[in-house]
């Protein structure tokens, strides 16, 4: 039981939080930050869906719509999903899961949070300079011509990139150097494996984004002629640079989510993971191959036919380790002792939506298929099934799962399940019709559309309200747990990974005695 000192009550006052070096407190800082931005990005999404309820201009002008769309995308990608799992749940639980006192570089850990805050503040400054309307992809030459706000968002994303690099660097060193006695790489929980693979991408790919964004800034400020065709530059080169980061970034967003799912499925099936090594290596495999698939965003960009064929082929290869993971999770449930607490509901929601996101990914990797649906709502539906249906489902499931450990309090199980029902059903009502809109040929990033697309757009908008209600319930469930939740014991789920062997909430340096590892990570026997 959580009597006496823990990381929450050990010190008091705002400055004890703003200058904390405790990975758990930094994790909580990230949690508050990410939730705030999620709220902001979500409001933009709801307003866009409201505008699309009927054809024509209803609520906001086309120019404003493009800004909302850009802010929704940029906030959700750079400020919510990328830091969401690694920097929030990862920061809190990676050291706990490997039996360490903290991450390897606590000061750099705090610095990474300040990078995110400063970067986000700079990006939001664009609101005072006519905003930004390029989409989160900043394609040239439009991003060279449009209003000055673009420069602020680009600069903000540049700074936030360092947050990501520093977190990744920290995790790599922590995993190599700070594992508990007796814990080899193959005794690490799979969440740690997924964070490790993610960290490699963060460290290797993010600098390419930084360089690209600097070049874009230089092009805007000084006209250096790299991307601007008027000066002899090549606008498509920007797309290559941009996706060289941003495709691996997709795996920064999904790999940690897969790690959470491995934890949830084993815990709530009371059973060791099926194919531990296959899952661990497939994380690393996905991370490695992810660097060679960026061109599948560019099948109709004018790149050569052979390049398109090569990228289609390599993209198909990513499908194999991804399929392996899904089959392993399902096999883990076979002959398990399955209990449907809210985290497990979210894990199953993840599986359901991720399978649809996955098969539509293979469809999109198929060249001739992609040509028809490229830049239509089919693509919008696909990546929301992966990013929202996948990553956000995993974050929410992970939040419920680890809430007792983080705050020593239980949440209300009934309302947590209700939140799942709203989010899961609302999600499908919102995004499934968008696959069909894509088949019908409705382009994405459209402020207005022809009336044939109206009924499905209305369905989609109605679904977005359900998702909104679902997340409001999540918010209140968490709030209620923090204020009035029942006290949680140290291991409410009967899980076996290390974080459950210390108090809830954990003491300042995590464990009263340094843990010794003698068993595998998911040994229930």
């Amino acid at each position: 039981m959580s009597e006496g000192k823990n990381y929450l009550n050990e010190k008091k006052g705002l400055s004890s939080w703003l200058f904390t070096l405790d990975h758990k407190r930094i994790g909580i800082l990230y949690m508050i930050t990410v939730f705030t931005f999620f709220l902001l990005g979500g409001v933009f999404a709801l307003l866009m869906r409201l505008e699309l309820f009927k054809p024509g201009e209803n609520l906001i002008s086309a120019a404003l719509y493009n800004q909302f769309m850009t802010f929704h995308g940029a906030i959700m990608v750079f400020m919510v999903i990328i830091p969401g799992i690694p920097a929030f749940l990862g920061n809190f639980f990676l050291p706990l899961q490997i039996g360490a006192k903290d991450v390897a570089f606590p000061r750099i850990n705090l610095l990474s949070w300040y990078c995110l805050i400063v970067g986000a503040a700079v990006a939001l400054c664009s609101l005072f300079f006519n905003g930004v309307d390029t989409g989160w992809t900043f394609y040239t030459p439009y991003s060279i011509r449009t209003d000055n706000g673009t420069l602020w968002v680009v600069l903000g994303a540049f700074i936030m990139g360092f947050s990501s690099i520093l977190t990744g660097l920290n995790f790599i060193v922590t995993v190599h150097k700070l594992r508990a006695k007796g814990m080899g790489f193959f005794q690490m929980p799979l969440f740690v494996w997924s964070l490790y693979s993610t960290a490699i991408i963060q460290v290797l790919a993010t600098p390419v984004l930084a360089i690209t964004l600097l070049l874009l800034s230089a092009e805007r400020l000084m006209g250096i002629g790299i991307f601007d065709p008027k000066l002899g530059g090549d606008p498509v080169l920007f797309q290559h640079f941009f996706w060289f980061y941003s495709h691996p970034a997709v795996y920064i967003m999904i790999l940690p989510a897969m790690g959470i799912i491995s934890e949830l499925i084993t815990t709530f099936s009371r059973k060791t993971i099926f194919g531990y090594k296959a899952i661990a290596f497939s994380s690393v495999g996905i991370a490695a191959v992810s660097f060679f698939v960026w061109g599948h965003h560019m099948f109709v960009s004018g790149q050569s036919e052979w390049v398109g064929i090569l990228f289609s082929f390599i993209t198909m290869l990513v499908g194999v380790p991804t399929a392996i993971k899904v089959f392993n999770w399902v096999a883990t449930m076979y002959k398990g002792s399955i209990k449907f607490d809210a985290p497990m509901l979210y894990a199953n929601g993840f599986l359901f939506l991720f399978v649809i996101g996955g098969v539509t990914g293979i469809m999109l990797a198929t060249l001739a298929f992609d040509v028809h649906v490229h830049d239509t709502y089919f693509v919008v539906a696909h990546f929301h099934y992966v990013m929202v249906g996948g990553t956000l489902m995993a974050i929410t499931g992970g939040l419920y799962y680890w809430l007792p450990k983080m705050f020593g309090r239980m949440y209300n199980e009934f309302w947590a399940r209700i939140s799942f029902a709203f989010i899961f059903i609302g999600f499908n009502v919102t995004f499934f019709p968008q696959f069909i809109l894509g088949f019908m040929g409705m382009p994405r990033r459209y402020h207005d559309y022809t009336p044939v697309y109206e009924p499905l757009n209305q369905l989609s908008t109605a679904g977005s309200w359900m998702i909104g209600v679902g997340f409001v319930i999540v918010f209140f469930v968490v709030l209620q747990a923090l204020l009035k939740g029942e006290k949680a014991n140290s291991n409410p789920w009967g899980a076996v990974t290390l974080e459950w062997q210390t108090d809830s909430p954990p003491p300042h340096e995590n464990f009263h005695e340094a843990p010794m590892i003698t068993k595998g990570p998911y040994d229930y026997n």
Partner: protein
């Protein structure tokens, strides 16, 4: 219910009716992908839903067996998906290659994208905006470039799409097998008018097309009528013929009024001002508007330019 929602029959229902032979072939690939995706999704989802029910926790004392791996099973569920992936990869490649095949005898038409409309220029010098006119059953090659930012030319009924770049040419080929009018969308974000950057492909009999090609579109029209037809094709994405403000000002009653500019000066809108604002719009930006309009210098004939001035003047007299 899920399978009912998206079986191949409904995919066929939702796709716009194919209007080229190649589009019909692409549809076969789409049906196959949808079918195999639904099948494999149902297998996985059905699997874990079944396990969830069958293996519910009965008591806290349950002792599940420790099953750590099964090499045969793991090989099969890696290798079978791999085979399926390679099969659809090959099929996709085959059709993609056909899309990229530009027949030598194809009829060539030049396409220009600009914020926010499409211009088409035919070999005999004839121009059209917003409507691409082509003969049926004859291969057509579009040679495309952009006058400003990247656009993308998408004909859903033909299942083809290609980005249109500033500074270089890209191409798109098709042979329409059905007569009729088919919508064209811009599918690369290009600013506030992106969703109104539409066009139509009008497929007609060869003789009809040849007649259309030879015809002077402005024969027998007054100057204001010529201007009106240019306006309908090139200007409606941003301007109205009422006083309603869109991306640019509404044009009714504008001629002869005093215009105040961003730089502080003011000027009465006379013929020369209208001409300058169309040919080189960035010279003077009216207060409250952005510098967004594409310059039309070099894109209009003298007759069309004068027609536009007369058309805008005529908007003052109509109610």
């Amino acid at each position: 219910m899920f399978s009912l929602l998206i079986n191949s029959a409904s995919a066929a229902k939702w796709l716009p009716a194919p209007a080229t032979k190649l589009a019909e072939e692409v549809d076969q690939l789409i049906y196959f992908l949808v079918e195999i995706s639904v099948l494999s999704s149902l297998l996985v989802i059905g699997g874990f839903v079944y396990f969830s029910i069958r293996f519910r926790r009965k008591s806290e004392k349950d002792k599940p067996p420790a099953i750590t791996h099964n090499y045969l099973l793991e090989f099969l569920w890696s290798f079978i998906p791999f085979l399926i992936f390679m099969f659809v990869f090959g099929w996709g490649w085959l059709l993609y290659d056909k899309m990229r095949d530009h027949p030598k005898e194809a009829l060539e038409i030049h396409v220009y994208g600009q914020m926010w409309n499409w211009d088409f220029v035919y070999k005999n010098g004839k121009k059209s905006s917003g409507i691409l006119t082509v003969p049926v059953n004859k291969p057509v090659k579009l040679i495309m470039s952009s006058r400003d930012v990247i656009h993308s030319f998408f004909i859903p009924s033909f299942r083809i799409k290609q980005d249109v770049l500033p500074g270089s040419y890209t191409a798109l080929s098709f042979t329409a097998s059905k007569k009729g009018k088919f919508p064209v969308f811009c599918t690369e974000l290009c600013g506030a008018g992106h969703s109104s950057m539409l066009a139509t492909v009008h497929v007609m009999e060869l003789e009809e097309w040849e007649k259309w090609l030879a015809k002077n579109p402005y024969k027998g029209m007054s100057l204001a009528q010529i201007g009106g037809s240019v306006f309908q094709k090139s200007c409606t994405a941003c301007h109205t013929v009422t006083t309603e403000k869109r991306i640019g000002p509404g044009l009714a009653g504008l001629f002869g009024t005093k215009r105040e500019f961003e730089k502080g000066e003011a000027k009465v809108a006379d013929e020369n001002y209208i001409r300058e604002s169309i040919l080189n719009p960035s010279t003077r930006i009216v207060k409250g508007y952005g510098n967004l309009m594409t310059p039309f210098a070099g894109l209009l004939t003298e007759e069309e330019m004068t027609g536009l001035v007369e058309y805008i003047k005529s908007l003052n007299s109509s109610p």
